[in-house]
Symmetry: C2
Subunit: 336 residues, 2 copies
């Protein structure tokens, strides 16, 4: 006697989870063990909004986890528990999705502890993560900046946005291979870079080890760059009640990036500053403290007592506009 497909999927999940000594799925919610305090993050991923339609369930699962892990990283937290609400069409390959999700959880030492399933004509997933700070660590906060602190970025800027533009122009993921749009001519080196951009967009790389390292510093401010460097820098500055000077030359990228941008008709600097979905970390540290060489961080500027936020180049300083990946701004501004 079958207790329904949803229950079957639960059963399959329980069997998978039981192997790892975990058996809390099945009640109306999960009971967490004592411990904490906890950092909690929550993010949506909706087909056609956050990722292209018909994306491989394997990739959707990885993307969903990565986007949320990136938030935890910017808090200096290490992931512990995940709660997943998934809504999808009946034909969506849920086993492929969950297999991929559980593998990704394992890689990042995270346990799927509960969730909710329902049907919908498009894939809609919401993930809540609970994380702990490393022992002897501090939570990273946006408000921890001090005048004179140096601003750094861990992770690549603009690549994810370039990938989004390439997908909009027709790039596709087929199996493990990315096909590029036929409408633009790219050299083989540019093709490698373009494929990397698409991959980076679809599956961001959360900066967990960077977040962990920062949480162990005496003082650091940090923010997840999800809406573009310009907008997220303004947010960090506002919380720290400071201004900033960004060194324009620090934002230059490898030559291929600019060429591919131009071939797509987009501005490379604009893409770096406001493209969004980088899931890199912008952070500040006292001038004496430097990230380790292997962490591959980029020094991008410094915090100032003066509240202006400027882009400084050899030609002078210009205000850095507050623009970025703001879901509602355009429409609300038009209606205001």
């Amino acid at each position: 006697m079958s207790a329904g497909a949803e229950d079957q999927l639960h059963q399959w999940l329980r069997n998978r989870l039981r192997r790892s000594g975990f058996d809390r799925i099945g009640d109306d919610g999960a009971i967490l063990p004592a411990g904490g305090p906890w950092a909690v993050t929550q993010d949506h991923q909706i087909e056609g909004v956050h990722f292209p339609p018909q994306l491989d369930p394997l990739v959707i699962a990885q993307r969903l986890l990565a986007v949320n892990l990136s938030d935890l990283a910017a808090m200096g937290a290490q992931p512990v528990f995940a709660f997943l609400a998934l809504s999808c069409p009946a034909e969506f390959d849920r086993h492929r999705f969950f297999s991929s999700f559980l593998r990704a959880c394992q890689r990042f030492d995270t346990e799927l502890a509960g969730g909710d399933l329902s049907s919908n004509d498009r894939v809609t997933a919401s993930l809540t993560l609970l994380g702990r700070k490393p022992s002897k660590g501090r939570w990273l906060q946006r408000s921890n900046g001090r005048p004179g602190d140096v601003l750094w970025v861990a992770g690549e800027l603009g690549f994810s946005a370039l990938g989004r533009h390439l997908l909009a122009a027709g790039a596709r993921l087929a199996g493990r291979r990315i096909s590029l749009p036929g409408s633009i001519q790219l050299t083989s080196r540019e093709q490698v870079l373009a494929r990397r951009a698409v991959r980076r967009h679809l599956i961001p790389q959360p900066q967990l080890s960077m977040g962990r390292w920062l949480a162990l510093r005496r003082r650091a401010a940090a923010i997840d760059i999800s809406d573009g460097l310009a907008l997220d820098l303004h947010r960090l500055c506002r919380e720290s009640e400071l201004g900033a000077q960004i060194d324009a030359t620090s934002l230059s990228t490898q030559s291929g990036f600019s060429t591919v941008c131009r071939k797509l008709g987009i501005d490379p600097t604009e893409t770096i500053l406001t493209g969004g979905e980088d899931y890199a970390i912008l952070f500040s540290l006292p001038p004496r403290v430097r990230p380790l060489g292997r962490q591959k961080c980029r020094r991008v500027g410094r915090l100032t007592a003066c509240p202006d936020i400027d882009l400084v180049s050899p030609e002078g300083a210009i205000p850095l506009a507050v623009t970025g990946w703001d879901h509602f701004a355009a429409v609300d501004a038009a209606g205001a």
Copy 2:
């Protein structure tokens, strides 16, 4: 200088929350104070799937919270923190939604502690709740039943499903008033009942005080009836490794209910057993323990060592089929 509409909404929310001494929105996630252990629940609400299109944002917010509170109630937990991911069209009245959500949170002693906002062509909301058990209480679990324990239901069965059918037939909420479909003729007493059913469907009544009372008993099994009594009873029995006998006469309702069902062309017993979205609690207690009179619980049967799950009437016992509100069962069965 505007930091974008999303930031403006954050700011408005922060100002509202600060009044209650709460100021954790603004970082990439929330930091919970030490404490716990925590019960965690998560639920989706999607326009056109879980509630009718164009529903008043005020009602969507109340429904979203109520559905999740119902899960906590069935665990014996009291709500403490809420995390909300909202995705909606630009024209959706987010202030109305959040005002309503915050009022509802206040009523249930819950704090909005974080979340995520994005744009989408239909309203999609996901809520995560963290709750604590009452001091000296126990978590309620589905597996706590013993043979001979009495089965009870707190909350109304079938009303929510009747409301869903009325909405499908054309019932509408306009302001505070519910207009009923013109296609069916109802007496004024039936109209009152029908309006109550629609309201019950749109805004379920979480059984928090019942859950709290149960958590303080020495032994109780409980489950949130969200997918229909039949299916959720099977789940409780499976977890407790028991069978059950349900007393058919205990499921009879006030006469108006059956009449309205028949006028809509639906079977009243079927609606009560499998209609779903009741957000009532099914629970078991040792025979000596009885809910208080004011808790208005209905005694519906008992748990048995024999694994059969039967509906018992003066005419005899028939197996209670495992059917209910299973989002994927129909499609999967067709494809199997």
